[in-house]
Symmetry: C2
């Protein structure tokens, strides 16, 4: 993880020297607040990694790294309003600390600031291709968020729809960050596409592991009680797969557990988990995760870049998927 | 107004042939809803006019016209949430028709769609300069909105601050639309700057006339009862000027009228209007409007472009300022 940590430090130093400024202060204070809450800075690391696969010094990718992080934080600010979330990384969310109107407007200006960062990229020759990919990714992230909201009230969500939603909501920005870094590095369009697919598929594997850990993770390692998704009837891969394959009594029992308002939360979680095990869901989910992981790695293998740095990217992806980083 | 109407028709035909499409439908339906509510399409007309000052066929500026209109409608969607406004152009606002979360997300994707439109501009040679101005204008519109929100709770707003707020909130996008049209037309940087200043100053004159009409307009012509701003203690040019120049008893009387919760709305409006007249506010406001109007026209005079089309732009600005269009 040494290379990743190095990239994260490069990004933090760059950001610390460039707080967003302007008048009125009330517009920019929430922007710097959310940007300074920290986090793993995965998207900047991906942008720098995408560039660093092809060049020793990744610093030309710093404005791109900043753009993708500002964009990511814009989505957090607006998503937190939509979810009425009080906390983000253990601190008050922007709308909770300020107010909803300020948070809407802070998010808006962050989206504009992301484009401002993109226009600072040098050599400018690569800006049109990067902007094209950025627009596509940005639009897809909104599409993923809308799909996620639609799913809450839909009873007929299919597994392909679910996989597409997590791809749009989580993977495309990670994939795009890596791919835009590679575009800026002058990588071939084949390699850019391979890195994009690698990021997408690794991101889906990552999200599937999230679903698995919510039901079957070690609470000490995951850091929260198991079954949060089950308690909320969240349409995860596990639940959708169970609804797809359960027949007869198991199907009836599962639907009853989902819709019985009288049942205690702990009992519901225990019984749904038992049903998942009975239906073989853990190994089906692990198999699906493995399938996307393998797809990701075969694309990465084919990229024509420095083997050591490709290896660093592979190890990062493995660690992220297994939640060991 | 023939030329303007021609530009508006060009824009409507272009838009009608290009509804925004994509999945999920729930994301794009509100976008097309707000875009189809109509309006004067002033910003597209400005973009086409800025181009048309220098070329006979303004159609190369249509993607730009579309970008500024989508951006403008994005601000309407989010501003309506912030103002909790139920109606827009006599129809339900997006958040009222759908819900707030859908409206936040629809606004977000519209901002991205505006950038997508900008990337379609040809020749691409002009895209960097246009994007640079678009980013600046977009950021300033957010700054103006934040200033406006800040003013509600501030007791020390100055007239220069007020003028800056209306410039940012209203003028810069009109000015920028015109100037970006001129950039695309290959106008000299001097002429681009002149057109930008023309748009800014004409926009301020337009907004000052808005303030004047609210208190002194003919209700039949304006289409609403006079004194709406006064009833809400809105910090308009009229009120800020009155607070600046009133002394002794008039100052005391004005502050009493603003803060007396017992006073009836009609009486408050009548007495504030009497005070405005007593203090000479109508002629001071008219003088200020005239000052910005003259600044605008002197910049337009200096632009080196077809005199007939410059004249059409001048007449449009005059008509807008006087609310005769």
């Amino acid at each position: 993880m040494q290379l990743v940590q190095q990239y994260q430090q490069m990004f933090e130093a760059y950001r610390a020297a460039r707080p967003f400024t302007g008048q009125p202060e009330g517009l920019y204070a929430p922007v710097n607040y959310i940007m300074d809450l920290g986090g793993k800075r995965l998207r900047p690391a991906m942008a720098l990694m995408g560039y660093g696969l092809f060049h020793d010094d990744a610093s030309p990718a710093l404005p791109l790294a900043c753009a993708v992080e500002v964009f990511h934080n814009f989505t957090l600010v607006h998503d937190d309003i939509m979810d009425a979330a009080p906390l983000r990384r253990g601190k008050p969310t922007v709308h909770a600390l300020y107010n909803t109107n300020t948070a809407i407007l802070a998010g808006d200006v962050m989206l504009i600031l992301a484009y401002e960062q993109l226009l600072q990229i040098k050599p400018a020759l690569y800006i049109p291709a990067i902007l094209g990919m950025f627009n596509q990714v940005a639009r897809e992230v909104c599409e993923g968020q809308q799909m996620d909201m639609d799913f809450e009230s839909r009873g007929d969500v299919t597994i392909p729809e679910y996989l597409r939603m997590i791809e749009l909501k989580t993977s495309v920005l990670l994939a795009g960050s890596l791919a835009m870094g590679a575009i800026l590095a002058g990588a071939s369009s084949d390699d850019v596409q391979r890195l994009y697919r690698f990021g997408c598929n690794a991101g889906i594997a990552f999200q599937l592991q999230d679903d698995i850990l919510d039901a079957f993770g070690d609470p000490q390692k995951v850091g929260k009680k198991p079954g949060g998704d089950i308690a909320q009837n969240k349409k995860t891969f596990l639940l959708l797969k169970a609804l797809e394959i359960a027949s007869g009594k198991a199907q009836q029992q599962l639907r009853h557990l989902l819709h019985d308002p009288g049942i205690k939360e702990e009992q519901k979680i225990d019984e749904v988990i038992s049903l998942f095990i009975q239906l073989g869901i853990p190994s089906l989910a692990a198999g699906e995760k493995q399938r996307f992981r393998d797809l990701a790695m075969s694309d990465l293998d084919a990229v024509r870049a420095d083997p050591d740095r490709k290896n660093a990217l592979r190890m990062l992806a493995e660690a992220l998927i297994e939640r060991e980083y």
